[in-house]
C-alpha cells in the first residue's frame, strides 16, 4: 500500500508550461482513467493555474511513466514533462497535500482559493478516488480549515486584486451596494472587479476607448457601456473607479475630473489604478476625499500582509505535522488488518497441514490423545502469533507500522499471495 503524488507546480515549471498542463473539469476524468489504467487503485487530479498534481493510491511502477507521458503530450514536441515534475510518496505525499490545502505551498502564502480548488478536485474525481484518497482529501480540507482558524495565515490580503478590496473596505463602511465604474478592459481590472463584485459592489458603468468592447464587458457585468469621454461626469456618482486602460499616458486628469469630484461634497471616492503605465494623473489624489492607489500601492498592501503571514508558518507547519501523523496512524491501521489476517490464515494452514501429517504417522493414538495434540498445536500457534500481532497493532497506532508490515510480508512470503 502507498500514496503517491506526481505533478508540477509554480516552483518547478514556468507559467507557459503550467498553462499547458492545466486541466478543465471536463478533461479530468479522461486523464485519470488513463493513469489508473496503468495500475493504481484510486486517483485524484488537482489542476489549478499554479499546479497540476495526480494523487494516486497504490500505484504500480509503470504509473509515473504514464503520468509524464500524458503531460508530455500536452507540451508537444520538446522536453518531457518529467523534467518539470516531482514525485512524493507516503507520508511526504500526505504532508504535501496538507500543505497545499493550508495554502503553505501557494504562490501567495495562505491564499484562500486553493481550499476551494482542492474541494473541487476531490468532487470531480470522487468516482475513482477510492477510500484512501477519499479520506485523505476529506482530512486535507479539515487541515486547511484548521490552519486558517488557528493561525493568522489567511489574515490580511496577499494579492493585488484582493488588496484593492481591502483598501476600498478601509474607506467605506460596507462595500455591498457601492457602485463602481470600470475604465478600460484590462485583465487585472476584470479580476479586481470580480473581487469587488463578490463583496457586493455593483459595477454600474463600463467605459472604454472602443464602445463595442465596453459594451461586451458591460453586458457580462450587467452594467451600462460608455465611451471614455462620457465617463468623466460619472466621477461624481460612483464610489469606486477601477482603471485599466491600455493608454500610453494618463487619461484621468485633474482638468477632466476635478470639477465633478468637487460636487461630491464629503463623499469619498476610491480610485484604483491598475494600469501600467498609470491611467490617473497623480495630481488627482490631491482632491479632497479622493483616495488614489496604483498597482505599486496595492502590491505594497499585499506584500505587507504576506510578510505578516510568514510569522504564522511555524504554527501552520506544526498543525500539518500533527495531522499527517494522525492520518498515517489511520492509514497504517488500515494496512495492518488484512496483512494480519493473511498472516494468521497462512500460519493456521501450516499448523493444520503439519498436524494432519503428524497424526497420520501416529494412528494408534486414542481420540483424546489426538485432541490433546491438536489443542497443543493451536496453543503453540497462538503463543507464537501473540507478540507479533500486538507489536504490529501498536506500531500501526503510532504510525510506524509500515516497516514491520514490510518485514512480515517478506519473511513469511505474504507479498506473493496478495500481489502487492
Amino acid at each position: 500500500m502507498s500514496i503517491t503524488v506526481l505533478g508540477v507546480n509554480h516552483r518547478t515549471a514556468p507559467l507557459e508550461v503550467r498553462e499547458r498542463f492545466a486541466h478543465t473539469a471536463g478533461e479530468v476524468p479522461q486523464s485519470l482513467e488513463r493513469v489508473l489504467a496503468a495500475g493504481a487503485r484510486g486517483g485524484v487530479l488537482l489542476s489549478t493555474c499554479n499546479r497540476t498534481e495526480f494523487y494516486l493510491a497504490e500505484p504500480d511502477d509503470a504509473v509515473p511513466e504514464a503520468v509524464w507521458a500524458l503531460l508530455s503530450e500536452r507540451l508537444g514536441v520538446g522536453p518531457s514533462a518529467s523534467q518539470y515534475g516531482y514525485i512524493q510518496r507516503d507520508r511526504d505525499a500526505v504532508r504535501h497535500l496538507y500543505r497545499v490545502s493550508a495554502g503553505l505551498d501557494s504562490m501567495i502564502l495562505g491564499e484562500p482559493q486553493i481550499q476551494g480548488q482542492v474541494r473541487e478536485a476531490w468532487d470531480v474525481s470522487k468516482a475513482v478516488a477510492g477510500p484512501v484518497l477519499h479520506r485523505l482529501f476529506q482530512s486535507a480540507l479539515l487541515v486547511g480549515a484548521r490552519v486558517r482558524s488557528e493561525t493568522g495565515l489567511a489574515t490580511g490580503t496577499a494579492s493585488a486584486p484582493s488588496a484593492a478590496v481591502a483598501v476600498a473596505a478601509k474607506i467605506f463602511t460596507q462595500l455591498a451596494g457601492r457602485s463602481a465604474l470600470i475604465l478600460g478592459a484590462g485583465d487585472i481590472a476584470e479580476l479586481a472587479a470580480t473581487c469587488l463584485v463578490s463583496e457586493g459592489v455593483r459595477v454600474t458603468l463600463v467605459a472604454n476607448r472602443t464602445y463595442e468592447r465596453a459594451k461586451a464587458i458591460a453586458e457580462e457585468l450587467g452594467a451600462r457601456a460608455l465611451t471614455l469621454d462620457e465617463a468623466w461626469d460619472h466621477f461624481g456618482d460612483c464610489d469606486i473607479v477601477l482603471c485599466s486602460t491600455a493608454a500610453p499616458h494618463a487619461v484621468v486628469t485633474w482638468d477632466r475630473v476635478a470639477a465633478t469630484v468637487r460636487r461630491r461634497g464629503g463623499r469619498p471616492l476610491c480610485i484604483l489604478d491598475l494600469a501600467v503605465p498609470r491611467d490617473v494623473e497623480p495630481a488627482v489624489a490631491q482632491l479632497e476625499n479622493v483616495f488614489l492607489y496604483d498597482l505599486d500601492d496595492l502590491q505594497a498592501v499585499a506584500a505587507h500582509a504576506a510578510a505578516e503571514r510568514r510569522n504564522d508558518i511555524p504554527a501552520a507547519e506544526r498543525i500539518v505535522t500533527e495531522e499527517v501523523e494522525r492520518f498515517w496512524g489511520w492509514y497504517g491501521g488500515l494496512a495492518v488488518v488484512p496483512v494480519l489476517r493473511e498472516f494468521r490464515d497462512r500460519m493456521e494452514a501450516v499448523r493444520a497441514a503439519e498436524l494432519e501429517r503428524t497424526l497420520r504417522r501416529l494412528p494408534h493414538l486414542s481420540p483424546e490423545d489426538r485432541g490433546q495434540i491438536e489443542y497443543f498445536s493451536q496453543a503453540l500457534l497462538n503463543k507464537f502469533l501473540h507478540q507479533p500481532t500486538v507489536a504490529l497493532k501498536e506500531a500501526a497506532r503510532a504510525g510506524r507500522g509500515y516497516g514491520l508490515l514490510d518485514a512480515l510480508k517478506r519473511l513469511f512470503g505474504l507479498e506473493r499471495r496478495d500481489g502487492t
Binding site: 493568522g152 490580511g156 483598501v167 473596505a169 478601509k170 474607506i171 467605506f172 463602511t173 461634497g265 464629503g266 463623499r267 469619498p268 489624489a285 479632497e288 476625499n289 483616495f291 492607489y293 500601492d297 505594497a300 498592501v301 505587507h304
Partner: protein, 263 residues
C-alpha cells in the same frame, strides 16, 4: 464596597485597554468576545460602585461617573460599530479617571447636602453623559483624521489595519454629536431648573461661558446636520468645539474654584 468595585473596574478597564493596544505592538488581536466580556464585567462592577456614590458630591464621584459612561460608550462602539480603536482613547481615559477618582477619594458625604435634590443628580448624570458623548465624537473625529492621513499618504501599517473604515468613523462622530448635543442641552436645562427652582447660587461667569460653549457645540452639530458637512471638515469642527469646551472648563476651574460645580 465602593472601593472594591472601583478597584475591580480599574483592573478590568486596564485589561481591556491592554487588549485594545496589544495589536498595535504586533501581537495577535484578542478575540472580540473577550474584549466585550472584560468591558461588560468592568462596567458591571463599576456601576455597582457608582450607584453608591450618589449624590455625587465633589469631583471624584463625578470623574468616576464620567469613566463609567466612557466605558459604556466604548462598549457600544465595539458592539454597534466594530470600532475597537475607540478604546485606544477611551480605555486609558476611563482607567485614568477611575485611578484619579480613587486617588482623590471616593467616600460620599454622609450628611444631607444642599442642592443635591434628585433633579440635581439627574442634571449631573445627564450632563456627564452628554460630555462623554461629545468626548466620543472627539475621539471618532481624531481617529478619522489619523486614518484619513494614512490612507492619503498610502501607509499601510497598524493604523490602516486596525482602525475602522473612514465612513464608519464619520458615522460614529455624527451619531455621537447628534445624540450628545441634545443630551448636553437637557443637562443645561436641568441645571437652569435646579438653579432657579432650587435657589442654588451659580457663578455668573460660569453661566455665560457655559452658554457660549453650548453655542459652539451647537455650531459643530449644525454644520453637520444643516449644512451637511462630512469627513475631514466635520471632524475638524468636532475637535475644535470639544477642545473649546475643555479649555473653557480649565479656565473656569483655575479662575473661579468652587465646590458647587460637580466638575
Amino acid at each position: 464596597m465602593v472601593l472594591t468595585s472601583h478597584l475591580v473596574a480599574l483592573g478590568l478597564y486596564a485589561l481591556a485597554t491592554v487588549l485594545v493596544l496589544a495589536p498595535f505592538t504586533g501581537l495577535r488581536p484578542a478575540p472580540r468576545g473577550l474584549l466585550v466580556g472584560v468591558l461588560i464585567a468592568g462596567i458591571a462592577a463599576h456601576a455597582l460602585g457608582v450607584a453608591r456614590l450618589t449624590p455625587f458630591m465633589g469631583v471624584a464621584p463625578t470623574l468616576s461617573l464620567l469613566a463609567l459612561f466612557l466605558a459604556l460608550l466604548q462598549l457600544a462602539s465595539e458592539v454597534a460599530f466594530r470600532a475597537s480603536a475607540v478604546g485606544v482613547f477611551t480605555g486609558p481615559l476611563a482607567t485614568g479617571l477611575i485611578g484619579l477618582a480613587l486617588l482623590i477619594g471616593l467616600a460620599p458625604d454622609a450628611g444631607p447636602v444642599v442642592g443635591r435634590s434628585p433633579w440635581s443628580i439627574l442634571h449631573i448624570t445627564v450632563s456627564i453623559l452628554g460630555l462623554a458623548m461629545l468626548a466620543l465624537a472627539f475621539i471618532a473625529a481624531a481617529l478619522y483624521l489619523l486614518q484619513f492621513r494614512e490612507l492619503k499618504a498610502k501607509r499601510f501599517g497598524q493604523v490602516f489595519r486596525l482602525f475602522p473604515p473612514l465612513e464608519r468613523l464619520d458615522q460614529l462622530n455624527h451619531l455621537s454629536l447628534v445624540v450628545g448635543f441634545p443630551t448636553v442641552t437637557l443637562g443645561v436645562l436641568l441645571g437652569f431648573g435646579v438653579r432657579y427652582a432650587g435657589g442654588v447660587s451659580v457663578d455668573a461667569a460660569q453661566v455665560v461661558w457655559g452658554m457660549l460653549m453650548w453655542l459652539v457645540l451647537g455650531w459643530a452639530v449644525g454644520v453637520r446636520v444643516v449644512r451637511h458637512w462630512a469627513g475631514r471638515r466635520a471632524a475638524f469642527a468636532s475637535i475644535a468645539s470639544f477642545a473649546a469646551v475643555l479649555l473653557v472648563y480649565l479656565a473656569l476651574k483655575l479662575t473661579t474654584p468652587g465646590t458647587q460645580r460637580f466638575l
